[in-house]
Structures are given as structure tokens and as C-alpha cells.
Amino acid sequence: MRLLGHDGEPTGSAPLPAPDVLLDGYRRLVAARRLNEQAQALVRQGRLAVYPSSRGQEACQVACAAVLEERDWLFPTYRDTAAIVARGVDPVEVLTMLRGDWHCGYDPRERRTAPQATPLATQLLHAVGVGHAARLRGEDTVVMALCGDGATSEGDFHEACNFAAVFAAPVVFFVQNNKYAISVPLARQSVAPSLAAKADGYGMPGVLVDGNDLPAVTRVLAEAVARARSGDGPTLVEADTYRMDAHTNADDATRYRTEDEVTGWGERDPLTRVRTYLTGAGVLDETGEREITAASEDMAAQVRRGLAVEAPVDPDELFAHVYATPTPQLTSQRASLRAELEDEDS
């Protein structure tokens, strides 16, 4: 499924969204890109320990947040910082984990956004549970569950898809197939005709979409959300996209892929084609572009400012949240750590 060609020309396979909607999408794409670049810069400066970038995948990041209502849930991975921010979570909070402050920087309940999952595919089952709980209560909540191409090989992916299908849970499984799992290429992950084809085995619809085509991803995800909301169960959406950066800054992508391949995908950039189209359609001019850039720079500055403050972490927090009421064991361990620290101080 593709609506906007690499050259910014509509493919005509379905109508494009209204220009102002697309312009708004473009604004979000630019913000997501800027966030990726800002975070990468912060890693270079040593302000963030690590950042799994979604550069090149911004259309997916923006779309999966845009199609959700406030009452819906998003289940992101470590790579989906931009999606979480697009959902409305404060970027400084999101990045807290990656600066080593705490495991989940934001309150998952506030924007109905689960913690970024690290153990691959595990979160997909939580998504099914959240959806099924809502459904049992008669609510029409939809859950957007994200994972990568590599994660589809995990047993939990299978179990989640199957549970969702059997219970007709209101879940959209959104696989960003960015062609690599760290260094492992798609061909070593699956020899199926597509990852979307896995849907057959669960009895749910599977859709393959150009993941660098914002209107197409948005449309496909919106349809899947509508299906889930109306009680018709889950959908598996595979986005054909590419991870432009290395897995994280700790990774050396030259060991497993060619410069040519990366350059080739650069020509399919998700921002460029929307920009080309909007410019061509006369909806975006230099002033508009400047305005959008300025807004994204504001956000980036805010992120820099937020991360400049070194928040002290209270050692008591080691013990504070493990149980609602600390066990006697934790209470005494906390006391001995406090005594140690007092000794240190004196």
C-alpha cells in the first residue's frame, strides 16, 4: 500500500488526506526528525548514555500516535521515543531512562503509554491484556502495539497475535520492519513472503504498507484502529521502512551493511516526499517551512534545557517502589544503606 511515491507524486491508489491534515503531519515528521537528531547529539555530548534512533522511520512514529484517541493505549519499544513524544509525553521525561535516571521516565497512566519495552515482543501480550480488559468492561479502547522485524521471531509475538485473534481483542500490531535486528538482516529473520503474511496463521487481516509514506501508514493504521474499535478484532500491519542510523550509538553498522544500501533508502526519506508534495500543491512555502523548523528547534532547545539539569537520584528510591508496602527485609536494607551513606558523609 502506497499513497505517495518516493518522488512525492500521489499514486492514486486512494485519495490523499486534506492538505492541512498532511501539513500537520509534516510538522510532526519534522519534530520527530529533530528529536532523533537532538537525542543523537546529546549522546555524542555524553548527556544521554544511549539512544536507539528512529531516523528514517518517522512516518511510522508519527502515524501510530496520530491515529489514537486519548482513551487508547500505546505500547512502544525502546526505539519509539518519537512516537511517545508524538503521543504527547514530555520528551525530557521520555529520555530520562536513557540518561540513566530511572527505568521509565514518564507516568504511563497519564497518556496511556506503556513503558518502553526492552525485552522484545513481551509488551505485545500486555497490549492484548489491556485491550481484553477494556473489552470485558464494554469500553471501546484500542491498543496500538509496536515491535520490530526481529521481534516477530520471538515466541511472545506468536502468542500475542494468537491470543488477540482468539479473543478478538482490540489491538493493532504494528511491525516496523526496518530490515535489521541490530546486525541481523531480515533474510535471517524470516523467509516468509512478508511479515504481514504471518497474519494468515492467526486468522486476522495482515497489511503491508510503505512505512516511509505518511499518508499510507496513517490510512492503514486508521483502518485497523477502526476495525478494532468496532469489535472486529486485531490487525497486523507491517511497515516497510529502514533504520537510517546504527542500532544505537554503541553499534557499528558498517560491519553488516553497505553505504549504498543506506544511501538508497535515504532517497526514500519519509519527510522529503511529503515536503515535495506539499510544496508542489502550494500548501508549504518557505515561510511555512521556516515556521515548522522554528517550532522543532524550540522543542529541541527545551529538550537540551531539560537534560542539562542533573536531577539527583535519591538512594531511597532503590527500595521505595518494589512493593506497595516495603517488606521488613527491604526496610532493613534501606536502613543499612542510609547508615552507610551517613558514614560516607561524615
Binding site: R109, L125, A320, Y323
Partner: protein
């Protein structure tokens, strides 16, 4: 007098009463629906509360626990059944990486009030994989609360407490105790989580046991009395949190202790008990704390089971070895 019921029936009653008291309580797992579970612990729940409240899932344990995590995130109080001990292992990643850690990960903003029920331990002549004692894996994992009732009344009361608990509980149900009947007063006060109980006071030595090891410990104490030794029995009930207070008070008063548990002894809950009791009661001890546990071998075939399980004789031997006399 309270009515007599089996432990399976007591757990069934606890589930029913909890489901009746709170719509958020849902029960699911493999065969827990129309069949009522392979041990009939969930008998009649689907019929009486409907398919939305008690239901079968596809056959996948990580799936069951993972779905429970999500449901607990979204306002429910799931109680899931793992069909047998060893069949909880496919869910291990979900249990260690999510069930145990979500509250901490989110700084307490997302707590998971869920219960994982596990028909537990051996003594039933089951085939391989059906008799494992897996409490050490859970007890070692911070964030889990681990309970193991030894009486039918505790099975009822502790399960009610577990379902009401704000944090996830691993609830270990000794299979071999499922079917014997005892008095259960369902109106009795719910026992607090984290408190051991002295099942038998004793002046000479203390047996520390939990779940399926409590009955042999009590039988051994009975037998020791016949032989002239006054041996007490502490039933932990709660492995995590651990009731140091009750256990240490007993051990300090007797100066001698034996830990009894079915699981292989190496790096086990029994090791922990021996280590922590020694740390806390060292100068009261007349002899090192002894452990009577399963051997460090896979759970054996039924015909070898009796050699593996800590029984009355082995417990009494351990008590005998507590250096009652000066070495010759």
C-alpha cells in the same frame, strides 16, 4: 464448627468469594473453564460467573501471564493458573522481567495486582515435569510475593489476601494436599501476608517448613515427642516477605533448628532460611541449622519419589544430629 472442605474446595471458595466481592477479579488459564481445571479447583466458576469472568485461553503460558500483566495494568485483578509447576517456566521471562518489575520500573505508578496460582511440588506420583518445586526461582526474584499454604484454612485465607494485595503474588498450592478435608472457617479473619505461624510450640528444637513440608514436619514432631523430645514447628506460609521475627524467636528459644523443604537444596529457599537464621541467632545456636531437602537431582520417577522427598525419618535423623551431646 466450621464445615470441612478439601484444599481444592477451599481455593475454589476463595475464588468464588473474591469474584463475588469484586467484579475486577477474573480467572483464566488452561482448562480452567468448563472443565474446572485439571484439579477441579475452578469448578463451576464459568457456569456461575460467566465466560467473561472465568475462561480458557490458548495453550501458552507466557501468553497467559503476559495477558494478565496487561489486564492488571487496566483495572483488573487477574488470577491465573499455571497447570503444573514446570509449565510455568515458559512464562518465566514475563514473570521475572514484567510481573516482578513493573511497579518498580514505573516508580509505583503501575502496580500489578495479579495472582499466579501454581499447583506445586510432588508426592503425587506424577510423571516428569508435574512435581517440581519452583519456589526458589520466584523467591529469588525481587518484586514477587511468594505464598505457600499448608492448611486448607490458610489456602482460603491467604488466597483472599493475595487477590486483594496491591502487588503480584505467586501462590503455591501443594498438590498432595489438594484433596484431604479439614475445617475451614471462611468467615475467619484473613491472615496477614508475611506472617508465619507456630503450628506447634517446642522447647528443644524448631522445625521450619512451608507448604507440603509442614505435614511431615508436624508428624516428625509428633514422633519426636514420643521419643522424648519437644520439637516445635513453624509454618512460614509466606516465603516472601519472610517473617524473621516469628522464626527467630522460636529458634532463639530452642537453640536448634532444622529447615524442611522438598526442593533441591542447593541455592534454595532452605539455604536462605539456614543462612538468615544463623546470621540472626548465631549465639543462640547449639548446632548448625540443618537442612532436610530434596536431593540436587531432577524430580525423580514415581517409583523413586519416596527416596527423594523429605520424610519423617529423614527429619528425625536431622534432629538427632543437632549435637545434643558433647562429641565423644
Amino acid at each position: 464448627m466450621a464445615p470441612k472442605m478439601s484444599m481444592a474446595a477451599a481455593i475454589n471458595a476463595a475464588l468464588r468469594d473474591a469474584m463475588a466481592a469484586d467484579d475486577a477479579v477474573v480467572v483464566f488459564g488452561e482448562d480452567v473453564g468448563p472443565l474446572g481445571g485439571v484439579f477441579r479447583v475452578t469448578d463451576g466458576l464459568t457456569r456461575d460467573f460467566g465466560e467473561g469472568r472465568c475462561f480458557d485461553t490458548p495453550l501458552a503460558e507466557a501468553g497467559i501471564v503476559g495477558m494478565a500483566v496487561g489486564m492488571a495494568m487496566n483495572g483488573m485483578r487477574p488470577v491465573v493458573e499455571m497447570q503444573f509447576d514446570a509449565f510455568a517456566f515458559p512464562a518465566f521471562e514475563q514473570i521475572t522481567s514484567h510481573v516482578a518489575k513493573t511497579a518498580n520500573r514505573t516508580r509505583g505508578r503501575v502496580r500489578l495486582p495479579l495472582v499466579i496460582r501454581i499447583p506445586y511440588a510432588g508426592g503425587i506420583g506424577g510423571v516428569e515435569h508435574h512435581c517440581d518445586s519452583s519456589e526458589a526461582y520466584y523467591a529469588h526474584t525481587p518484586g514477587l510475593t511468594v505464598l505457600a499454604p499448608a492448611t486448607n484454612a490458610d489456602a482460603y485465607g491467604l488466597l483472599r489476601a493475595a487477590i486483594e494485595y496491591p502487588d503480584p503474588v505467586v501462590f503455591l498450592e501443594p498438590k498432595k494436599l489438594y484433596f484431604a478435608k479439614e475445617e475451614v472457617d471462611v468467615a475467619a479473619e484473613v491472615p496477614p501476608i508475611g506472617r508465619a505461624v507456630v503450628r506447634r510450640a517446642g522447647r528443644d528444637a524448631t522445625l521450619i517448613a512451608y507448604g507440603p513440608s509442614v505435614p511431615p514436619a508436624l508428624a516428625a514432631a509428633e514422633q519426636a515427642a514420643v521419643e522424648g523430645r519437644d520439637v516445635g514447628v513453624v509454618d512460614l506460609r509466606s516465603i516472601v516477605p519472610f517473617d524473621d521475627e516469628t522464626v527467630c524467636a522460636e529458634v532463639r528459644s530452642t537453640g536448634r533448628a532444622v529447615v524442611v523443604a522438598e526442593a533441591p537444596g542447593f541455592a534454595s529457599v532452605a539455604s536462605e532460611i539456614a543462612a538468615r537464621v544463623t546470621e540472626r541467632c548465631f549465639h543462640h545456636l547449639e548446632a548448625p541449622v540443618h537442612r532436610v531437602t530434596g536431593f540436587d537431582v531432577p524430580y525423580p520417577a514415581p517409583k523413586l519419589e519416596r527416596h527423594f522427598l523429605p520424610g519423617v525419618d529423614r527429619i528425625l535423623d536431622a534432629v538427632d544430629e543437632l549435637q545434643w551431646q558433647d562429641a565423644a
